[in-house]
Amino acid sequence: MLEFRKDIFADERDDHLQEIGQPTQRQDMLGHVTGTSRYYDDHRFANLLHLKVLRSPHAHARIRSIDDSAAARAPGVKRIIRAADVPVNLNTLLSLMQFGKDDEPSLASDVVRYKGEPILGIVATSERAALEAMALVRISYDPLPAVFDVEEALKPGAPSVNPAYPKNTFEYHGKYDHQKLRFGDVDAAFAQADIVLEDRYQMSPIEHAPTETNGSIAVPDTNGRIVVYTSTQALFFSLDTAAKINALPSNQLHFIGGTVGGGFGGKVDTMTEPLAILAARLTGAPVRYRLSRHEEMQFGSPRGAERIYIKDGIMRDGRIIARQVRAYFDSGAYTRLSSYAVIKCAGHIPGPYSIPNVYADVYCVYTNRTPATAMRGFGVTAIDFAIECQMDKDAVAIGMDPLEFRMLNAYRDGDMKAHRREAKNCALIECAQVAAEKAQWPLRDEFRRMSSRQGGGSARAGVTDRSRMPTPAAPPRVPASTAQRAAYERPMPAVSPAVTPPPAPPIPPQPSAPAGSSHGARRFSSVFGTRRR
């Protein structure tokens, strides 16, 4: 089922290794087959309380009134947690990296913006008691118009979903409602192209559906701290998010995790820890907040839907000379991580191909549905679907074999990519050759002779006049003869006479700091984990 082609790229590897490359048994396998691997919920506590969250039944509504008095008196109920109880009730996940505005409450107070948005927490001696108490809560709503389509949301007059972003798009670089990618001149290229093909692709939201749902247990510790057993995929990310929401110094929290029953990106949002911690602080007891499967399916953050328009300009000889993309990420009611995915998507366009003219606008759009989050392939899965379907259509349009068409356009070492970095360490061609051989997909001789290491950076890639390209800020190219290193080092300036180092890169103009607070910061800060707010 799985075999190696060690002969390919053998000259770039040193295969004399002891432990690397061995099919060593997993450290956790014995625990898995004996059922003794400890997940967050495999810890028992006396007097454990259970937190369940009352959720909005409306996609968009104003909350007129909340009467939780009957619920507070219900059997087994220890505490009702309201919006006013949350110390810092507005956050965005990437505030830890100073990216984006705080836009999402832990508990909604005046407006609910998606069906399932949390409004109240009920802490009780059993889940059943909490759910029965929940049925006694009386909330009256004034429904508001809702918007569910990303392009409708961008039209003037569309209902405004998220007050931090009133036009229903995330703000990039303080001035744009999308991330741009501009390389070459697509309009001129489309005018020249033999064939222009346009199409639209749509990916719907999907579930991570790990067999273990999201959850955490917050336990007051003997020394006044709170210990949190968690299913998170990112321990300190969740710790710092929970510390911010609870207005606690980070060292008051002790997070324990590391063995998780599947994540796939769905356990990054830190949805249960902040309220579990708050509940533990308010009751003085250990509290578990565990999403039921129904909650995960209906209200847990999904992979966000994406709508992608692609327009390709191709020549009859097989070259793609232009690719234009307009992509919309459906972020749902709040930002979470979609703002980041947009940039990742923009950096991925036009795919692993050398196309001399590329133009893309990528949007993060708000709608009145469950906020989306990362999932396996975040920012890339949908655009790859769109690109690879489009490639097939392009090939059929000019009567070329779909695999040969891809190989013809595949990027090679030395090609310039649309985000203005030199391609290196490429291997698309070799993967195509090997898969074709294995599947008995016939390829013509010239395609079986192609190599990622030859022909790059030349007229083949359509970028002949590199003096017109802005000099890349990347470090100088490393000669291919350098032995493979075991750890990251900045490549040394080239010493081989065969390689001419490019001129020293100009320092990119520093973006001017946004006025006032750090709202709308344009980029990630590398100072992770410290908050300047």
């Binding site: 004996t34 790990p210 067999t211 499967r293």
Partner: protein, 159 residues
Amino acid sequence: MKTPIQFRLNGEDVAAFVEGGANLLDTLREIVGDLTVKGGCWQGTCGTCTVIIDGVPRLSCITLAETCSGSSIETAAGLRRGSELHPLQIAFMERFAAQCGYCTPGMLMAAKALLDKNPNPTRQDVIEAISGNICRCTGYEPIINAVLDAARDHTRSRV
């Protein structure tokens, strides 16, 4: 108002007081303390909580604890005899048939229930036996192979 129940768990006598309507999954985990049984959905649709009751694979999350009084229940905790792993456990290890491991206890019990009744299953028999158990990580192929291996090597044991 709690009901006393008694049953055998992996060969040992167990007694518990349970609320009316309590399911066997929560009873085993929270009251009896057998944490090898995992909960995936509490809706009876994923198979993660599979245990064997009187020789039959059952979903413990939708089995009323009270109906198990007097029954013989097997969970993953009872698979190994002392330090000796069950052939299924050995086969799962050798086939790398677990990644996150969360579906594994339920999967093992579904497989054990098959092999206890049918020591010589076909591939199709194995597929049918585990069709009620969701795995999100492995793609099922290594699990099917592991169960077939265990069936072939039923005489193997390991100290």
